[in-house]
């Protein structure tokens, strides 16, 4: 992406250590990464390499690190209105309807309910949740709940979308469908996305650049740009053999093969 000349997110020499009883765990070690405005970044790497830690720091949920993470011109120290987060579990509140769940971020910062209800309804229609506004989470399938989670992350119209294995708990078909959906939303809305996944094909399908991390200590081992043109189709992965192979090469001796 040419917008890299003026990155939206700047990660500078980021180090994060968790003290534990059996000594310190270095979750992130000198991580440097610039993410352009509107870029789609996928983070892959074996379990424990610090993907969630990195995402939490970007979300302003984790302190106690050295180095710096900047969003625009400000150092990230607390959750920001410019960031929406999608978690691995949808974590919808069971006593709220789907629409009430999606409106929660709006409610928390007392933004205008009317304007944003309209936006929430548009998002729901776009993502295929129309008609489920007044249902409760338990009445929806796992895939639909996760879509509601995405709407909730988007409702305040943030610049950045952080997603931590959002489709990890879903079956393969739902997952492929939602990947295609996510690509469309991203292309239409022009968000900057940081997407954590264990699936290399998913990363290649979605991302402009795939950031490969390695564990103990958590480091970036390679950044692989994906040249496939948009809008990508699942079959296009056949044309990304080199990229897939390159990323897979990092995990030849680990258990993370997908």
């Amino acid at each position: 992406m040419d917008s890299i000349s003026q990155p939206l997110i700047r990660i500078n020499n980021l180090c994060k250590t968790y003290p534990t009883r059996s000594g310190d765990t270095v979750a992130l070690d000198k991580v440097n990464l610039d993410i352009g405005d509107g870029e789609f970044i996928a983070l892959v790497g074996p379990s424990g390499c610090g993907k969630t830690t990195l995402l939490k720091i970007l979300a302003g949920l984790e302190g106690g690190f050295s180095g710096e993470a900047r969003l625009g011109n400000v150092a990230i120290t607390k959750p920001s209105l410019e960031v929406g987060v999608v978690f691995q579990e949808p974590t919808l509140l069971p006593w709220r309807t789907i629409l009430e769940n999606i409106m929660l971020p709006v409610e928390l910062v007392r933004m205008d309910t009317k304007t944003y209800t309209k936006r929430a309804l548009e998002l729901m229609e776009m993502i295929g949740l129309k008609g489920f506004e007044n249902k409760y989470p338990r009445e929806l399938s796992g895939g639909m709940r996760q879509r509601a989670g995405i709407c909730r992350a988007l409702v305040r119209d943030p610049k950045v979308l952080l997603m931590d294995e959002p489709f990890g708990a879903l079956d393969a078909m739902t997952r492929e469908f939602l990947n295609a959906e996510l690509q469309r939303i991203w292309m239409r809305a022009g968000k900057t996305v940081v997407f954590v996944t264990h699936s290399i094909p998913e990363a290649v399908f979605l991302a402009d650049r795939v950031v490969v991390m390695s564990p103990r200590p958590g480091r970036i081992s390679e950044i692989v740009p994906i040249g496939l043109p948009r809008e990508r189709k699942l079959g296009d992965l056949a044309h990304a053999g080199d990229e897939l192979a390159r990323i897979r090469g990092h995990f030849a001796d680990s258990s993370m093969i997908d």
């Binding site: 974590t91 509140l93 069971p94 928390l108």
Partner: protein, 256 residues
């Protein structure tokens, strides 16, 4: 369908057990010619109960006990909620008070009834305090447990969207505590009833507990059984009111 059937079956079984037990009891008393001041037949208890229900004196005592139970219950519950919220939110209170609460819980509170009689007299106050105290503990424990029951994920999700501590409390912790709160409320009604009756036993001018003592002195065992039935009816009614409220309020939780 299956559920409805099993409910019907249960109702039938409950009725059946009732008839078997009371029938067997009636038969035993009749055959063995047990005198009524030792074990009255169910039919005698039933007659006694009906005559009580038509007696103004009984209703006078009934409402005294109800007043003690309800006042004590509300008082105990309110204090437990306030204290529970404070303890769960203020670490200093948690650290300093929790050991005492755990210790006090092991005291059988009913043993305090004679002391309350000394402090608060033979009137309603000593009964209300007793009922409040026993309803208080299960409620307090449940409020604290409930407010800590929220999953890490839910709390983190709220934080990620910029929620303040108060918002996390109100929007996640309080709703998640409600199943616990209703467990405490359900135990509380039964406990408050026990508290009021025990306090009346220790010394009272009026009330259903006092009536039990009077019937006992008159060797009117059937009367005592009749009062017991009334007490059971009070307990079950209040408990099912709490249960109904729970199903309405905590509509998202399962049956248990």
């Amino acid at each position: 369908m299956y559920r409805d059937n099993s409910k019907l079956l249960q109702a039938a079984l409950v009725v059946l057990v009732f008839f078997i037990v009371t029938g067997g009891w009636e038969f035993y008393v009749w055959v063995s010619e047990t005198p009524a001041f030792v074990l009255p037949a169910p039919s005698v208890v039933g007659k006694q109960l009906f005559s009580l229900l038509g007696n103004a004196m009984f209703w006078d005592n009934f409402w005294v006990t109800m007043y003690e139970v309800l006042m004590g219950y509300v008082l105990g519950i309110l204090i437990a909620v306030v204290l529970g919220v404070l303890i769960s939110q203020i670490r200093l209170l948690d650290l300093s008070l929790m050991p005492y609460i755990v210790a006090f819980q092991t005291i059988p509170s009913v043993a305090l009834a004679p002391i309350f009689l000394q402090w608060f007299g033979y009137g309603l106050a000593s009964k209300i305090v007793m009922a409040a105290l026993i309803a208080f503990f299960p409620m307090l424990v449940n409020v604290i447990a409930g407010l800590q029951a929220s999953g890490r994920d839910e709390v983190q999700m709220l934080k990620a969207f910029g929620a303040s501590r108060l918002q996390i409390l109100l929007k996640v912790r309080v709703p998640n505590s409600l199943p616990y709160v209703f467990a405490g409320l359900g135990l509380g009604v039964v406990f408050a009833l026990v508290g009021a009756i025990v306090a009346e036993f220790v010394g009272a001018q009026k009330g259903l507990g006092k009536m039990i003592l009077q019937f006992n002195e008159q060797f009117n065992i059937a009367g005592m059984f009749a009062i017991l039935i009334v007490l059971a009816a009070i307990g079950m009614t209040m408990h099912s009111i709490v249960g109904m409220a729970k199903r309405r309020v905590v509509f998202w939780a399962g049956d248990h």
